[in-house]
């Protein structure tokens, strides 16, 4: 069972209190973009075995979207953080690196 701390409520919310929103920090390609960019934006998603950044919504709690950095293999959660950012904050990166010094990094 995946349990994430909602950064807005400060409560430990079980997976069934949450709604998954897929890969985090996508850059939108809309009108004016190339077909390749648009296709990538719409369909191509990372599916790593290991460190991953995701969007989650505290759906039966505060209703807010937030981010989570977790490990898809071990289910370890490194951090949850605000939705108001376009990339993982440094302290989240540091938390991952502390556990995985050889991690190739975000992106």
């Amino acid at each position: 069972m995946l349990i994430l701390e909602c950064p807005y409520c400060g409560v430990m919310a079980d997976e069934t209190d949450l709604h998954g929103g897929g890969e985090a920090h996508l850059k939108r390609f809309g009108p004016g973009s190339s077909d390749d960019e648009f296709e990538t934006y719409l369909f191509h998603r990372k599916n790593p075995k290991g460190v991953h950044f995701e969007r989650w919504r505290h759906v039966s709690g505060c209703g807010k979207w937030f981010h989570a950095a977790r490990n898809t293999m071990t289910l370890e959660v490194y951090a949850t953080y605000s939705a108001q950012t376009t990339e993982p904050p440094q302290d989240v990166i540091d938390a991952v690196k502390a556990k995985h010094p050889d991690w190739e990094g975000y992106k």
Binding site: C9, G10, V11, T16, D17, S60, G61, K64
Partner: protein, 184 residues
């Protein structure tokens, strides 16, 4: 004004905890900047209560105020007063970016009374009810529906859900409180 009735009109069930529908309860949703003086002032005037912090519910002479999200409060007041309180709060907030709505008749409220009130709710929700103390409020779900609950005292839990699922919530609570279903 039509004759206001609560969802289950005070229905109750005697299990190893007593479950009862709370009857007419005034409920107001207030959204805005919870750090603003204007909101604190409107809340104080409406309920007499201080602003709740994250995950808290506070009590004043005229009602309670629950923290629902970083920009949302639930005011629990006298049902008959709710409309006037909404009007006064909206006026007091003036041009401040905010929203005040009377949701009294869109909700159902239950009390679960007994030493095992936390246990009865724990059967239905993923939330850790053992950490709940009077003054704390948790928004979560019970079985398939969203619900919020807090403790009035150590043996009285108050649970709020949408009125459209009032019967479902009551049936869940009754089942969880059934004699013979004690866990501890």
């Amino acid at each position: 004004m039509s004759n206001a009735v609560s969802a289950l009109q005070g229905a109750s069930f005697d299990g190893y905890c007593k479950v009862e529908e709370a009857g007419l309860t005034g409920m107001i949703t207030l959204r805005g900047d919870l750090a603003s003086k204007g909101v604190a002032k409107a809340v104080k005037a409406a309920t007499g209560a201080a602003m709740p912090g994250q995950g808290e519910v506070t009590e004043g002479a005229k009602g309670r105020v629950g923290w629902m999200s970083p920009d949302e409060l639930l005011l629990i007041v006298d049902h008959a007063e709710a409309a006037a309180i909404v009007e006064a709060a909206a006026k007091s907030l003036g041009d401040e970016h905010s929203l005040v709505v009377n949701v009294s008749d869109a909700r159902a409220v239950y009390r679960v009374k007994g030493a095992a009130c936390r246990e009865v709710i724990a059967k239905l929700t993923p939330a850790d009810t053992s950490v709940m103390q009077p003054g704390m409020l948790r928004r979560t779900r019970i079985a398939q529906i969203p619900a919020a609950f807090y403790l009035e005292d150590d043996e009285t839990a108050v649970l709020v859900c949408f009125r459209s699922v009032a019967q479902y919530a009551f049936d869940l609570l009754k089942d969880a409180a059934k004699p013979g279903g004690e866990v501890w």
